[in-house]
Symmetry: C2
Subunit: 600 residues, 2 copies
């Protein structure tokens, strides 16, 4: 499996050539870091991922968690893996040295974590959820809550979850029914049912801290009446020791298509009337708080989708190099030797598509992580605000684009392996099955498209959008200095010009109150917007590759040529390929909007 764990050369390209990770070490918070300490952290992540995470990736798919006596039972390989992760301190990668953390930039933390996602997406979910839950308490919890719940999470003794979805409401959080009644002692008693709670039960930690959305008795209707509660699996005594079991019952496990190593649970809160919870922050502000965790999780989902796509790409690339079969169309002499299938143009196409999808998305994923750093540690406030606004705008793309196109990459990886790819004797079919979750959880594709078109574009008076357009324009201007890049730059310029017109028109419709019409083809909009973003990132990569060919190590020439060819593929096949969607959007096509239920 080790050959599917990220390409080190490409990781270095992203960190040190495209995203200038070393510049971060000039900021006060990261002054003790250097490229050497970054690489050491990455090396450790790679080593632990290879040693503890990769070996049981297939095993946990074949032996999914079992429901026994009200608890979830996992295969024994999972705990040593998360223990090694915690032992190495990756759950505190971004925390300050004084809190026992590595004080790494978000960019490096994400890059380290990518190795675990690549090696074993299911096992990596447990620490990922815990890191999100811990950050939520860190930001919005009281001192007592931090002492009681956050501290053991930092110590790696407690794990966490996010509990949003309910059976009758799915994506519609406005309709959740879980109730929280004040108990008179400052705590609350919760009652309700949640489903699809990842990591909702497991034997990996002393305790599990559920971050639960519920409604107070006086809550206004809808999303403005949602509050956030800490609901631990075990209550905690004042001395920090574990108290009795809380009234949170594991009602059952879901049996998934993939991602099977992560328990997906149905949890009953308060079946016996005694589920203790603690309000986080102020009443009725729970959804706003939870969005911090959800936004982090959305970037995490995007990164997971990328790493699954990447793993399939690397595996199928290696296979295509080693597998001889057939001959080129113009050389059919049966006495000649068969050629490796990578020589067949259609196989090259499927590899080039995968490369364009996964390396384009990987660049965007790390770029977003870099924005998180800028949001928190850029030297002036304007830069920090800009980074936050741009990140808000890009989050639906970071979540959804890889979920769609890196999944497509996995489908192509299966195809390259042919009959073998369809068997469970090879890993690529599992990558597909695992990745199929990503367009669904943390907000479906449809939800992301409405978030982008209906909310994010106009946020802060469109400041994020203006920034993005400015960045793309700047990139095109730099690219204009390279004649060789003209065939890559022009499609992007053309696409963005048309996208800008379409965007203005749709926003105009929204402001004129034509809401259902303007949002009708939001899925198309999500695609063309995402392609603009990934096209821009590919032009940035191509620019770096041009510099690399001129000034870089000659031994890297093939690497840079591959970047240029993938950029060419993406910009001329994919970005120019968005023309039909742009035309439909411009025409406000109403084919789907006007379809009637009775006509199906």
């Amino acid at each position: 499996m080790s050959e599917t764990l990220l390409c080190p050369r490409n990781l270095a390209f992203e960190l040190y050539e495209v995203l200038d990770a070393e510049a971060l070490t000039r900021r006060a918070r990261f002054a003790d870091h250097s490229r050497e300490t970054f690489d050491a952290a990455l090396g450790t992540a790679r080593q632990i991922a290879q040693k503890y995470f990769a070996p049981h990736n297939r095993t946990s798919d074949e032996h999914e968690p079992l429901y026994q006596n009200g608890e979830a039972v996992l295969i024994p390989e999972v705990k040593p893996a998360v223990d090694a992760f915690i032992e190495a301190g990756f759950h505190n990668a971004q925390r300050s040295f004084e809190d026992g953390g590595m004080q790494l930039p978000n960019l490096l933390s994400r890059a380290c974590f990518a190795h675990f996602q690549s090696a074993n997406i299911a096992t990596s979910s447990y620490p990922m959820l815990t890191m999100g839950a811990a950050h939520l308490i860190e930001t919005f919890g009281s001192d007592d809550q931090k002492q009681r719940f956050l501290q053991p999470m930092i110590e790696g003794r407690y794990f966490g979850t996010m509990a949003l979805t309910e059976p009758h409401a799915g994506s519609s959080l406005s309709d959740i029914r879980t109730r929280a009644e004040p108990a008179g002692d400052g705590s609350y008693r919760l009652k309700g049912n949640k489903i699809f709670i990842s990591g909702g039960d497991h034997p990996l930690s002393e305790n599990i801290v559920h971050m639960v959305l519920a409604k107070l008795p006086d809550a206004p209707p809808g999303v403005k009446g949602i509050s956030l509660f800490i609901v631990p699996k075990f209550l905690i005594n004042d001395d920090g020791s574990l108290g009795p079991r809380n009234d949170v019952l594991l009602a059952g496990l879901f049996h998934k298509m993939g991602w099977r190593g992560t328990t997906s649970t149905a949890l009953n809160f308060g079946d016996n009337g005694n589920c203790v919870g603690y309000l986080v922050g102020e009443p009725h502000k729970g959804l706003a708080y939870m969005f911090q965790m959800m936004n982090e999780a959305r970037i995490g989902v995007g990164m997971g989708a990328i790493m699954l796509g990447y793993a399939g790409y690397l595996y199928s690339l290696n296979y295509a190099r080693e597998r001889p079969q057939g001959r080129l169309p113009d050389g059919k002499d049966p006495a000649s030797a068969q050629v490796p299938i990578i020589e067949h143009t259609d196989v090259k196409r499927m590899l080039l598509m995968q490369k364009a999808y996964v390396e384009g998305a990987f660049d965007l994923g790390l770029y977003s992580a870099r924005l998180v750093d800028d949001q928190h540690t850029a030297t002036n406030e304007e830069e920090r605000r800009n980074a936050g606004e741009l990140l808000d705008l890009l989050t639906p793309i970071v979540k959804s684009w890889p979920s769609e196109f890196c999944l497509k990459a996995n489908e192509l990886a299966i195809q390259i392996l042919g009959g073998h790819g369809y068997t469970r004797e090879y890993p690529v079919e599992q990558f597909y099955r695992d990745n199929r979750l990503n367009p669904i959880h943390e907000g479906t594709h449809g939800i992301q498209s409405l978030d982008l078109l209906g909310r994010k574009l106009m946020q802060n008076n469109g400041a994020g959008l203006q920034q993005l357009l400015g960045l793309i324009q700047d990139c095109c201007q730099r690219a204009a200095a390279h004649e060789a890049l003209a065939p890559l730059r022009q499609p992007l310029e053309q696409h963005v010009a048309q996208l800008t017109r379409v965007t203005q028109a749709l926003l105009g419709d929204l402001m004129a109150g034509k809401i259902n019409q303007a949002l009708a083809n939001s899925a198309l909009y999500l695609k063309v917007f995402g392609h603009a973003v990934i096209g821009w990132r590919w032009l940035e990569q191509a620019l770096r590759a041009e510099h690399g060919l001129t000034d870089g190590n000659p031994a890297d020439a093939d690497f840079y040529r591959g970047k240029l060819q993938a950029a060419r593929y993406f910009l001329t096949w994919e970005v120019l390929g968005c023309q039909p969607e742009l035309t439909l959007l411009e025409a406000r096509d109403d084919t789907c909007l006007n379809m009637q239920e009775g006509w199906f």
Copy 2:
């Protein structure tokens, strides 16, 4: 599961409104048939599919065949199902009355069989393979072979397989290594290994008749040196009773992503030097013979892909009608009731796409079956020849288009069910996993694209292509009489005009010897050609729907309106959406061709 078994109204629309199945009853061979006998056969198929096939579809996915003591062991539900199928005579649906058959047209036989594929693709594979193998012996076997092997297959006592693929060669049949030595008594001794042989072992029949490709000692190299052999699992005594076990060993089973109920086997022929085989027809002509079975199987694969897509569509449609969630964008009052998700435009889009894919492909699949009938029973020779030539041209489309787009439909069905769709508690994820095989077996997508562009277009001096273009033109002319159809007709006319130019240019390149260049983007060509074909079939359906709205039962108005809207979707979104691919083909884009292995 019954709600996923084909839509009876749409089946009747296809058979009796679009394809005029009743006209077949005016041919001598089908003179004893009528719409009533057709419907009776369809009703029986539906009943048996529901009673015996559907109930164990999930069970056979969960309990795949086991390898025990050199044999494949299946769950007990499979045998009663295939027994009921045989008992009802569906394996002989097309055979003459005098041979104990139903003497049904191919169109009706395919339509009946579609029910079994829809209910349980894995179990339906055993009879499908048997029917193909029997037809092969029927066409090319000697009288003795017919007596010995075909007769028990007709009686339902023996099953069959096709054994082509070898471990080192995959799609490259030219490189198979299995050898057949004359034994001196008219029989042969085979030696070699085959993989991915579906139905290669099972306990469903007294005997298994393998149709095996192998090379004689004096064989010329390549595909012109391949011969076809009958290799039974058990030898047969002269009195027809079973003799000793032949030297065909089940080396193992493959463990697949889906389609798990069908054994996929590795077979060793002649490990002990005593594998008896019988040459079918003349030496070195085996591949040509096998193509009869492969072409039937390719249509069968296409129909299987369609039925899986169709089942997912019907399931997700039903779910979308019943599942309330959220509110429309312009009606966010949380006090209002949640709406069924079918009211969300993006869900309508995913349903409309599925409808367009599966009903478009279903029409093409049955149209092809109708061509088989014309090939054999049309009243004059020219019609028969025309039908055969058109069918040859369309076969790669019938195989590959549904494998790609009905698979895409399955992906959309999962998305509509959201988190539930991702669990094995619902059937849609299995439909996807089952369907993922179809772009691989019976010739991968890449093989089909080369077959179309490199072979089929120019076959018989392009007679099939000229026919197809004529049929599309005729359809457009009829559509021109309906003003309402102009927005559907014009995209098709535009597309076909451009496709024709591209085709001439590529064929010109091929004739000029620029073979690798001309075939480089064959995958794009396969898509745009397939979209032309399905677009044409949708325009035909739209024409019938227009007639139905004018002259048909008013109670069917919504059905016809749905047809028109799906046709509109397909022609304006999908067919016009091929513009970028046509542009790349016209430009002879060489991005993939020029990609170098070292650049990856």
